[in-house]
Each structure stands twice: as C-alpha cells, then as structure tokens.
C-alpha cells in the first residue's frame, strides 16, 4: 500500500504577520506542523503492519526541506517538495490545486493529513483536496483500520463518536489523539539525507501560475489589528507556595 502524508512547514516561536505583505512571516526558523507528525506516525504504523511505502508531500518555501527531512528521519521512504515563489500566498483552493496535482502524480492508496495547520488554524484542506481528487474523505480520525480494500475511521464530532468507512483510495485527516508519534532514531536521522527527495516547481507539475499563489487565491487579507483588551493576567512560577497563592487569589474573589 502506498501512503502519501501531506506535511506543512510552519514557523516556530515568535510567529508574526508581515505588515507589508500581510502574510505570515516565514523567514525565521520553522518546523514540521506538530499535528502532521501524527499523520506521519499513522502512515508508518500502517506500513509496518501491511507493507508498502510512505511518501511525504509538502508545499512550501525551500526551508520546508527541514520538515520533510524530519518525516524521513521518522521512517518515511521518500519525499516530494513543491517549492516555487509563484506559490507563495496561496489560500485554501490555491493550495489544494497544487497538492492535488502532486498527489495525482504519486497515485497513493491513502492520503493522510494532520488535523489542522498550527500556523493558520486551517482545518479544511483535506476536504478541498479530496474534492479535487474525486476521492472519499474521512476527517478527525482518532482510530484507523484498513481491511478488504476499505479504510475505517472512528472520529469524534459534537455529538459523540462516528464510525465511517470508505473504499481505498481515500483521503483521511487524523486527530492528534490517534497515536503518540515516535522520535526519530539516530540511524533514522543519519539515513534521511540519502532517501529519495525530489523538489519540483509548479511547471514541473504541469501547473500554470494562475491556479495558485496570490494570483490563484480568492481570499485576501485586508488589515491587521490588535485584539480587544482583556483583563489583567497574573503569571507566577511555583516556588513551593503556588497553592497558597491560588487560595489567596480565590479568597479575595470569594470563590473559596
């Protein structure tokens, strides 16, 4: 079974939006989106159970190589990174256009996503990609099994647990409760560099500029502003007396 895992390279720490471009500043250090690590782990577990291969697919700046390599170090077999200046500033549909083209060329049995992007809080990409690929989709999967050419996902909604089944090939988004991701071993880290990694431009995927990037996006960011002011927050370090301080704080407000 061939499994593609879509991963996003997201900025670490001091996240800021560039006031000039109104895009997220991606110039600093980045890392693999923590939610996507669960998707990588689930793909590796499926491969260990059933055989097959795991390919990592990412769209992002050249620095996204770091995130791709993390997934390879965990155990993925190969990687495809789509990097192109013309793809910068892509919104949902512009991103889905590119990922769908890349995934079509890989022809995986399963496509896995993490449950959301840690930078944009987006939690819709799989649905857009599944529509582009004409494949069934199951999201928020907290438990996944494969049998008889079908994939079954148990997932949580506002009302309880659903169990949904779909024929393979299918697109899935897994929740962060699905597994505890492994740490890359030293051997995995050393071996990651020598695994097949392709970096492609939009034209190499057969895409024209108009379908992605800012030109291919239908949403715009108009302005940035400060959040509404909140009440004061007090933050203390526990030096052994934190419990007393909490009680004082609650007592002043007549809550104990």
């Amino acid at each position: 079974m061939k499994i593609a895992v879509c991963v996003k390279h997201v900025p670490e720490q001091s996240k800021r939006i560039d006031p000039a471009t109104k895009r997220l500043d991606r110039s600093g250090e980045g890392a693999i989106n923590p939610f996507d690590v669960h998707a990588v782990e689930e793909a590796l577990k499926l491969k260990e159970d059933r055989g097959g291969e795991v390919v990592v697919v990412s769209m992002g700046p050249a620095g996204a190589q770091d995130s791709v390599r993390k997934a390879l170090a965990m155990g993925a077999d190969s990687a495809l990174l789509i990097t192109d200046e013309a793809a910068a500033g892509s919104d949902l549909v512009a991103t889905a256009n590119v990922l769908a083209a890349a995934l079509e060329s890989e022809a995986p049995d399963l496509v896995l996503f993490g449950q959301q992007a840690g930078d944009s809080d987006g939690a819709v990409l799989w649905a857009a990609v599944a529509d582009r690929l004409h494949r069934p989709v199951i999201s928020q999967v907290a438990n996944l099994s494969v049998a008889d050419g079908k994939v079954r996902g148990k997932r949580q909604t506002e009302f309880g647990y659903d169990v949904i089944e779909a024929p393979i090939p299918a697109v899935l988004a897994v929740s962060d409760a699905i597994n505890e991701p492994r740490y890359p071993s030293l051997k995995g880290i050393m071996g990651a560099r020598s695994k097949p990694q392709r970096t492609v431009s939009l034209s190499e995927l057969g895409l024209e500029g108009g379908v992605t990037g800012e030109a291919g996006s239908k949403t715009v960011v108009q302005a940035l502003s400060d959040p509404p002011p909140r009440g004061d927050t007090v933050k203390i370090e526990d030096d052994g007396s934190a419990a007393e301080k909490i009680v004082e704080f609650l007592a002043e407000r007549k809550l104990v």
Binding site: K15, I17, L92, V93, A96, D121, G122, A123, V124, A127, A128, A130, D131, H134, R135, P136, V137, I138, S139, Q140, R152, Q156, T157, E158, Y161, V163, I164, E165, A166, P167, A170, S175, A177, S217, K218, T219, V220, V221, Q222, L224, S225, P227, R230, D232, T233, V234, K235, I236, D238, G240, A242, A243, E244, K245, I246, V247, F249, L250, R253, L255
Partner: protein
Amino acid sequence: MSTLVFLEHHGNELLKPSLGVLSKATTLDQDVSGVVLGSGVRGLAEQAGKFGAARVFVADRPELEAPLPQPRVDALAGLVRDREFDTVLFASSVLAADVAGGLAARLGAGLNWDLTDLVQQNGSLIGKRPALGDTVYVDVGWKDGPRLALIRPGTFDPQGVAETPSVEIEDLEPQFEDFSLAATMVEQAHAESEGPSIEDADVIVAGGRGLGAPENFKLVEELAQALGGAVAATRAVVDAGWYPYATQVGQTGKSVSPKLYIACGISGAIQHKVGMQGSGLIVAINKDPNAPIFEYSDLGVVGDLNDVVPKLTELVRQRKS
C-alpha cells in the same frame, strides 16, 4: 448580495450556531435563504423562518441521511450555481468544515474560517478572524464570489423575528457524484459513556494531557470535590480514553461558563478555549511557561501539577472545615 446559510441539524432540531449565523446574515442582507440537507427534514424548514430566512431550500434524500460532507457538497454546489448565490455562510462544526472545504474546491471559491464577526465595509463583506492564538485580529475578504465563510460557533446568538413566519420552501433535486457516495456511516454519534453534567456547575476543574496518565485524574477529581465542583476534560484525553466524552469541554464538546475554571495540565489550544472562555475566572496550572492557556488565564501558575494540585486540594479542605 444574495446569501445562503447552511443549516445544520441533529436529532430533528436545527442547531443553535447555524441559527445564530442565520440571524446575523439577516442584518447584512435583506434576502437570506437557508438550506437544510438530510432525510426526513422537511419539517425543519419552518423553524428557519422564525429566525429570518425568507426562503428555505430542502433536499430530502436518503443519500443525505448520514451527516457526511461530500453529498452535501454536491447539493450545495448545484444550488449555489443555479441560484447564483454570492455568499455562503456556515457555523463551524466537524461536518460544516468538511462541507465548506469541499465546496470551496468544487466552486473554485474563497473560504475564510474561524470568523468571529462579519461586517459590511465600503460595500464589501469583511470577516474578522483572530489569528496566531488570538494575538492578532485579521480582517479578511474575498476577491469575488461566491464568498464562503465558516463562523466560530457561539459567535452569534439566534434572534427570533417571527412567531408565525411566512417562509417559502423549495425542494431541491441534487445530483450526486459517485465518489461523494463512497464513504458510508457505519455507526453514528455514539456517546461512549454518560457522566455528570458540567454545563450547570459553578466550579469546574479540568484535566488535560499534561496530567501524564489517566490515573492522575484523581488529582483533578479530589480538587473538584474539595471545591464542590465538577470535573471536565480536554478532547485529547477524551479521545485517548482517559475520561468520558460527556465531560469534554471545547469545540467538539460542551461550552461551559462556570464562575471558576481551573485548568490542570491543559495547554489551551484554540479548540479548548472556545469552550471555556466564558468562564468568570480562569486559573491555569501548567509546567510549560509558553502554554497558550496563560495568555487568557486570570492567574497562571507555571509549575508541576503533581505538587501544586494536591497542596491546593488540602488548603481548600482546611478552609472549608
């Protein structure tokens, strides 16, 4: 402007967040339509009239019985194209997010998510979106229609406008794609266990993944008992089977607003925040000084909950005795 609101339902009721979005839409547009997709749902259309919908489209089909997104994308895409809606609004939910994402791809349309307000500014529609852990507010717009938006649940309250509404009901005959009918519901909305209700509690002590192990929920339970409060949990620990679903606070769980909310080992991701930000006073105990929960706690304690929580329980017990 011609606005369509996706009206989600469960247990033969239209959901409050959807009706809230419908109410909001009627303040932005005089001609708002709703759409109800399901099986045996025709009666729900009348309900929508009470909240200001001039027209409700209904697709009553067995293919729409299970709350799965893809057949809904088919039905909505046909409707939006035929009637040339320029705006489609959704109250965000597990189902609505998947429907909106799929519809955006199908129509090649712009989708903005997690909006906490919608306004008309110089003739264009603008959405307000808190970003980067609510540290910055972003005004988002659309280049052209159709404009798709997911609204953060609980943002708008439903406002009844008519006791005896005159709502026009139109039946839809959607065409379904083969791939849209490929996924099937094997078992639906099964709540795995019942627990005490947290919605009416004045004090809630909540536990998250930072507890480290399910047995450590006893620390949370003891503190809750000392304070006369209820125990709540995050989605992560509920999904991991540490605590029952009925106690879950957050986007896919319950929204609570106790006088006091004590968060133990909860990092405070946005999905949790939306379920408890209405609390009177928030106290957070977490060993990670960078946990987002500290940004919206009234009192944040950076420390080991294994030390702090038992001590706190003991002190509360002493005060009460």
